[in-house]
């Protein structure tokens, strides 16, 4: 006789079970996926808490979309397990996973009106006609498209189409909402509006949400936590502040936010007492202090170029050894210093980091 407990233990490793119980959100364990010669996912493990909004961030080819599609069941991983809301979903079909998916290019049904698009999932799941009707109107209100129900997708703008896609995905009350570069095909202004709107929507609906993006600003603005991916692996998982202030790797540091990379032997680090066993140091542009007078821990630099970005000024500085680096200073500071191009200034790093592994993007 095999007890049911023994049976489940055969199915899952105890570690996996523990995690499932703890999180009850999305649990991805050791998932790998290959496309021919290309390793899209390499033993990826991610836990996503129930009710949170998480961004999968990385450059193209980092595996973020493949991971999202694997969670959805649109891609079947070569190995590893995926659980949704505490249930192992690895072998379940897309249809049975009860997820909502939003595609980058909306994937609305072209031949159906907005209303029929939203009702599609409910009709498939055999919801009573009266309820379908009521809920469709509710959702139209929710995505701010009241009165547009009889239009066809081709008669809507990009932002409106993406909101229809969201309403359609939410209609079936999914346990998790997955969005694949949802704002990627929209122009900059609409994108910003829709981001803020998605955040508010999530705070209202509270469905566990995962979205893929290659835009670090978007990830920082919208999500509770960011999963930074590179070359099919997870580089770091953390809150936006954690990944920005305490990057786990050179890749994370240079992918999230601007960065100067200088040799550790450079005089600027020797003078200011920053040292590392690794050959390169990473320096954020806003961590560089500029002064007009020399002090005991500063090095001289020439202002090669000044770029006005509105609320801040970007200065291109050339060190004595010919190294170029970028420094950002606020408008206030700039006005006080009255910087000019080709002027000589004295600089000092406030903060610098180094990482064990070589990085490459």
């Amino acid at each position: 006789m095999v007890s049911s407990q023994q049976f489940t233990q055969r199915l899952f490793t105890p570690r996996f079970i523990n995690k499932v119980i703890k999180f009850m959100g999305i649990c991805v364990q050791d998932v790998s996926k290959r496309f021919g010669d290309f390793q899209a996912l390499d033993r990826v493990s991610v836990d996503i808490e129930s009710g949170s909004l998480v961004a999968l961030l990385g450059p193209s080819g980092s595996g973020k979309s493949t991971l999202l599609r694997s969670i959805a069941g649109l891609e079947s991983p070569d190995s590893g397990r995926i659980s949704l809301m505490g249930e192992d979903a690895t072998d379940r079909s897309v249809q049975d996973r009860k997820i909502g998916f939003v595609f980058q290019h909306y994937a609305l049904f072209k031949h159906m009106t907005v209303r029929r698009n939203i009702a599609f999932g409910m009709e498939i799941r055999k919801m009573a006609a009266s309820r379908v009707k009521a809920r469709t109107e509710e959702l139209l209100d929710l995505v701010q498209l009241t009165g547009m129900g009889d239009r066809y997708p081709s008669q809507l703008s990009g932002g409106q189409r993406q909101r229809v896609a969201l309403a359609r995905a939410l209609a079936v009350e999914p346990k998790v909402l997955l969005l694949d570069e949802p704002f990627g095909a929209l122009d900059a202004r609409v994108r910003k509006d829709l981001r803020a709107w998605l955040r508010r929507l999530h705070d209202e609906v509270h469905v566990t949400t995962v979205f893929v993006t290659h835009d670090q600003e978007e990830a920082m603005e919208v999500s509770d936590r960011i999963v930074v991916m590179n070359k099919g692996k997870v580089e770091q998982i953390g809150t936006p502040a954690q990944v920005y202030d305490h990057p786990a790797s050179a890749f994370v540091m240079s992918f999230i936010g601007p960065v100067n990379v200088l040799p550790t032997s450079s005089k600027i680090f020797q003078e200011s007492g920053f040292d590392s066993a690794h050959p390169e140091m990473f320096l954020r542009p806003h961590d560089i202090e500029i002064a007009l007078e020399a002090a005991n821990n500063t090095v001289p630099a020439r202002v090669a170029r000044l770029i006005h970005l509105g609320w801040e000024i970007q200065a291109e500085l050339e060190l004595e050894d010919g190294q170029l680096m970028i420094a950002n200073l606020t408008r206030d500071r700039y006005d006080r210093l009255q910087l000019e191009e080709n002027q000589c200034v004295y600089v000092r790093p406030k903060e610098a980091k180094s990482f064990a592994l070589n990085y490459n993007i």
């Binding site: 959805a72 649109l74 249809q95 997820i99 998916f101 599609f120 498939i124 359609r168």
Partner: protein, 281 residues
């Protein structure tokens, strides 16, 4: 800086003047060519058919030989069109939504009926199913006749009208992409539901266009069918075969009457095709 706009315009106008002869010449050549090859012969068919008046025309269309040929052609189309529609849909879907070894080879094989001469296609069937063909002895001993009978004509018709639906559906399927189908799946739709509710509505005009072309070819095929039919009047004589036979027997009016009917069907198909092409856009 443009100091004098008129100076700049002058050479442009000169060039336009020289160019304006080219379209005229090209249009002229096209009209003359089409007239000789298409319009005059087609008009002549109608003239010959109605030369002895509409009475004679309709009399020709009530002759048993003609009626038998027309109903045979109709039968061929009624069977071949649905078969090739279903096959075409399946093949187009398999070829666009899957990447597998030998895919491009299959794609070019589907075009074979376009590139092979219809006579050769007919001969291939004879070599397989004829009395001395590969399957001949077995068919003979089981008393199944394919060549010089309806099944052979049907096979020939199926062969020559096979690629149209596939060829028309593949581009529309590719254009529609797989995303809408994936979206339907995430909303809980089974593959069958997805096909009927999402895929088919998306490709319907392209599919209908393919069906029309299939029908036109099935009704109009002469070469391949003539090789395998035996051309027995009132038995294995389809409409195109009837036209040829009547013409050879100096029953010119009869031939032209049937030809008019075939031409009329073709024109009707073209009209539908035009409507569908506009709908697709």
């Amino acid at each position: 800086m443009i100091s004098n706009p008129q100076q700049l315009n002058k050479p442009l106008n000169d060039r336009n003047l020289k160019k304006s002869w080219v379209p005229t010449i090209l249009i002229g050549i096209t009209v003359v060519y089409l007239g000789l090859v298409l319009y005059i012969p087609a008009a002549n068919v109608f003239y010959q058919a109605f030369r002895l008046g509409t009475g004679a025309f309709f009399e020709n269309l009530t002759k048993p030989e003609f009626l038998s040929a027309a109903s045979l052609t109709l039968m061929l189309a009624v069977i071949a069109v649905p078969i090739n529609t279903v096959f075409g849909l399946c093949a187009a879907w398999a070829l666009t939504r899957n990447r597998f070894w030998g895919r491009s080879f299959l794609l070019s094989v589907i075009d074979l009926p376009f590139s092979i001469s219809p006579v050769v296609a007919g001969l291939m069937l004879v070599l397989l199913y004829g009395r001395l063909g590969w399957f001949g002895p077995w068919l003979n001993s089981n008393n199944i006749q394919i060549i010089f009978a309806f099944p052979g004509m049907l096979l020939a018709t199926l062969f020559v009208s096979m690629p149209f639906v596939v060829r028309e559906v593949i581009p529309v399927l590719e254009e529609a992409g797989a995303e809408q189908e994936e979206a339907a799946a995430t909303l809980g739709a089974s593959e069958w539901q997805t096909f009927w509710r999402v895929t088919l509505p998306n490709i319907r005009w392209g599919l209908l266009y393919g069906v029309l072309l299939t029908n036109a070819r099935a009704m109009g095929e002469f070469g391949a069918v003539s090789v395998v039919s035996g051309n027995l009047s009132q038995q294995t004589q389809s409409l195109p075969l009837f036209v040829e036979e009547a013409y050879k027997q100096y029953q010119t009016e009869s031939a032209y009457s049937a030809a008019v009917l075939l031409a009329f069907l073709a024109v009707l198909t073209l009209v539908f095709k035009e409507i569908l092409e506009r709908k697709t856009k």
